[in-house]
């Protein structure tokens, strides 16, 4: 998991897509499948976390931007 933490969102998504494709092939041995699945779920979680982080950052930015926003509105009146 530590290695995957260094992945970017896009890289993680790419890996996840590849795992889904592999699983869709159908002939995946059970143990491999569960391993893929586990890995896929980890990647998914990673992606979710990343999205969440991004989401939070955005919220923070929006909050900070609130004052600015109102300032501009005053300007344009």
């Amino acid at each position: 998991m530590s290695e995957e933490n260094e992945l970017t969102f896009e890289q993680a998504m790419y890996k996840l897509e590849q795992i889904v494709e592999k699983l869709e092939d159908g002939d995946v041995p059970l143990e491999e499948a569960i391993a893929f699945y586990k890995q896929g779920m980890d990647l998914s979680r990673l992606c979710h976390q990343k999205l969440k982080t991004v989401e939070e950052q955005l919220t923070e930015i929006l909050r900070e931007d609130g004052e600015l926003e109102s300032f501009i509105v005053q300007e344009e009146e």
């Binding site: 996840l16 889904v20 699983l23 869709e24 499948a33 699945y37 998914s44 955005l58 501009i72 300007e75």
Partner: protein, 451 residues
């Protein structure tokens, strides 16, 4: 008659004209006679007939030549002509083209007069260059004439009347007779030697040409020419010109006229003086007025009348500059604000929310997909296992026991198929449908069936 060539009138006339023109005897001829039928055209040309007792000839004198005439030609006047004879084609008449015309009747005297006049003129005695200016206000006037003549009386009367302030000195001279010329010349010389006068009047009253003759003599002309004192000639009457007249600095038509020319009129002088005084006062007054007006104009000049203009315009300039400064600063500020606003708007368009949402939906799809696949795989595997197990189960050899059969195994789990496999006392396990029975071999018998 038929072969005879006819000349035209023009050709004949031209022929005759040429004959006249080439004849030297008809060129520059001198002709004398009496004028008749005299006409002067408005153009100035003179047309007349010259005749004597037995013959007549037409004559024409063009305006260019008439200017030099000293007399006005009249019918019956005897004249001396000089000119050319030629034919006037239009009328077929020959006529004289007159270049010079003088009156006839003086004869030798006149010729002598003309000759002397020409000579002295060429010598320069009559030249305007040698004419001296008369003094404006002579203090003494010299008169050279006969002390007994009427001329002197006329002169003295006039001088007294006009200009009593001037002194008069009479230099007596003979003005008629053979000794007259020398006498006049001597008087002129004497007056010049004595230097008492500022101007000289030389003359006599009118008379015949012979009576005036002294004033046509060279000695008089030269004395006049030599004189340092300006001389006014006053000989005879208005129409008579003598050599002295030409030589004098000024010619007066009569002695009275000479006196008038010699001195100013006292009254005129007074007027003149008054006039100068007036002009003096006027010009100074005008000058002072003009200067005052000029000064007033300057005083009234815009710069002086509206001195505040000096700084009012600057004030306006300053105000304008300030207005611009304020406007531009504000505009500058607004521009910067606008620019920032533009950038911010562009940035906001790049808001990552959508990207996040898109990514999330892709992620969720993948997640669902992986889960479905995993479930599918697990289900498939489980199903195949179940199938295998049920098939195995169907084929179980143990099914026989269902019908009451049992399987006997030695204590080393070997299926007992023959009595020979066991001995008395061995412990065996009997497997039944619903369990196992542990038993001890008590006996063994060989089956007869197999035998």
């Amino acid at each position: 008659m038929n072969d005879q060539k006819y000349l035209t009138v023009s050709a004949l006339t031209r022929y005759i004209k040429r004959k006249f023109d080439v004849d030297p005897h008809l060129r520059d001829i001198y002709l004398k006679g009496e004028i008749s039928n005299f006409k002067q055209h408005s153009s100035g040309h003179m047309y007349f007939t010259l005749k004597d007792e037995r013959a007549r000839i037409l004559a024409v004198m063009f305006a260019a030549n008439t200017a030099s005439l000293k007399f006005k030609p009249q019918n019956g006047m005897n004249v001396l002509l000089r000119g050319d004879i030629t034919v006037y084609e239009q009328s077929g008449q020959y006529q004289m083209y007159v270049k010079q015309m003088t009156t006839d009747g003086i004869g030798d005297l006149y010729i002598a007069y003309e000759q002397l006049k020409n000579r002295l003129e060429q010598e320069g005695l009559f030249s305007p260059l040698h004419k001296e200016k008369l003094p404006k206000y002579p203090s003494a006037v010299g008169v050279i004439t006969s002390p007994t003549g009427a001329a002197l009386r006329d002169i003295l009367t006039t001088l007294k009347r006009r200009y009593p302030v001037a002194k008069v000195i009479i230099y007596p001279a003979l003005v008629q007779g053979t000794a007259a010329a020398a006498s006049v010349a001597k008087a002129i010389t004497a007056a010049n030697r004595r230097q008492e006068t500022d101007v000289l009047i030389v003359g006599r009253g009118g008379g015949s040409i012979e009576e005036l003759w002294a004033f046509n003599e060279e000695v008089v002309a030269r004395a006049i020419f030599e004189s340092k004192i300006p001389i006014i000639s006053a000989v005879g009457h208005e129409t008579d010109y003598t050599i002295a007249d030409f030589a004098a600095d000024l010619r007066a038509p009569t002695p009275t006229g000479a006196a008038e020319m010699a001195v100013p009129h006292l009254n005129e002088l007074m007027e003149r003086l008054q006039n100068r005084k007036n002009r003096l006062t006027r010009s100074v007054r005008e000058k002072a007025n003009a200067d005052a007006a000029r000064l007033a104009r300057l005083d009234r000049s815009y710069a002086f009348r509206y001195p505040r203009q000096m700084y009012e315009q600057k004030l306006e300039q300053l105000d304008r500059a300030m207005e611009r400064l304020k406007r531009e600063s504000k505009r500058f500020f607004i521009n910067k604000t606008d620019m920032l606003q533009r950038h911010v708007t562009a940035l906001k368009k790049q808001h990552p929310q959508q990207r996040i949402a898109d990514a999330e939906s892709v992620l969720n799809r993948q997640e669902r997909s992986i889960r479905r696949q995993m479930e599918r795989i697990f289900a498939e595997k489980a199903k195949s296992l179940t199938h295998a197990i049920s098939t195995l189960d169907a084929l179980s050899p143990l099914k026989i026991m269902e019908r009451g059969y049992s399987l006997t195994f030695t204590d080393n789990d070997t299926l007992v198929k023959s009595t020979e496999q066991v001995n008395k006392g061995d412990i065996i396990t009997v497997t039944l449908r619903d369990g196992k029975i542990k038993a001890e071999v008590k006996d063994k018998r060989e089956s007869a069936v197999n035998e």
